[in-house]
């Protein structure tokens, strides 16, 4: 069964690159939804169910950690695995994301193999 994915990043370039990478890996991917920040993502999740979320941290309006916190507090979404893909590499931020329930953490820049490995460990 194909996996529906949501990509949350304020950079359209990164969203496009991640879509391209998802098509290169062996996992069957269904629909890919995009959101420019955490608030947009929460709105989209009300109408689009997904099995995986890839999220940036540093974003306007609602950053990735706030988004992760709200997601994990919502009974309908708390089971959805979230991989943080971000420039932010500070140990404190990584620990905060893990404590909030992130299933994985990957620093930008990244390549397709790293995304593939990270997904394999989560799915």
């Amino acid at each position: 069964m194909a996996l529906d994915v949501m990509i949350v990043d304020d950079s359209a370039a990164i969203r496009k690159i991640l879509q391209r990478v998802l098509l290169q890996i062996d996992i069957p991917i269904g629909k890919v939804y995009e959101a420019g920040d955490g608030a947009q993502a929460m709105e989209q999740l009300k109408v689009n169910k997904v099995g995986l979320i890839l999220s940036d941290i540093n974003m306007p309006v609602m950053d990735g950690l706030q988004f992760l916190s709200e997601l994990k507090a919502a009974p309908d979404y708390k089971h959805v695995p979230v991989i943080m893909i971000t420039t932010e590499g500070a140990q404190a931020k990584v620990l905060e994301a893990v404590n909030l329930g992130a299933a994985g953490y990957l620093r930008k820049p990244f390549n397709a193999e790293q995304i593939k490995d990270k997904l394999a460990g989560v799915l």
Partner: protein, 173 residues
Amino acid sequence: MEPKKAAEQIVEATTGVLSMMLGIEASVRETVLETRAQGPSEGVVALVGVAGAWAGTGTVSCSPKEACWLAGQMLGAEFDEMNDEVLDAIGEIANMVIGNIKTNLEDELGPMALSIPTVVSGEHLSTRSLSKQTWTVVKFDCGNGTMTVHVMLAPSQQAPALTHRRPQETAAA
């Protein structure tokens, strides 16, 4: 921070981002120190602010032609002229370059946070620092053009802001 160390961090972060995300092997053309941090007079300048124990600004700048080429390499597309996709790509390159420099320096300098990138493009730009802090500037040969990275970091109380004048168009990345 010693200029030599700053330059090393710029080179490591920039070549890593360009290699992994764009498939480009960039080479250092020139490293200089500036007190006025004069940017380009036309083209694209992407700025990322750094705040925390140390604070400052990092910028990535290039010509419009180079910006289109870099965005094309990043997105697997061709761009003949500047548009939102090109500005967004340059902003994200700046975000990754300055973000990696910040992360690599945090063990030594203490925790710092990044701003959302801002991208300015146009003609007759004038870019100036408000103080006389030293900026480390590294120019890279990328493809047929040049991309320049400016970084200034100082203990928080000494950190100035960077001003821009007369941009013809702006876009937030």
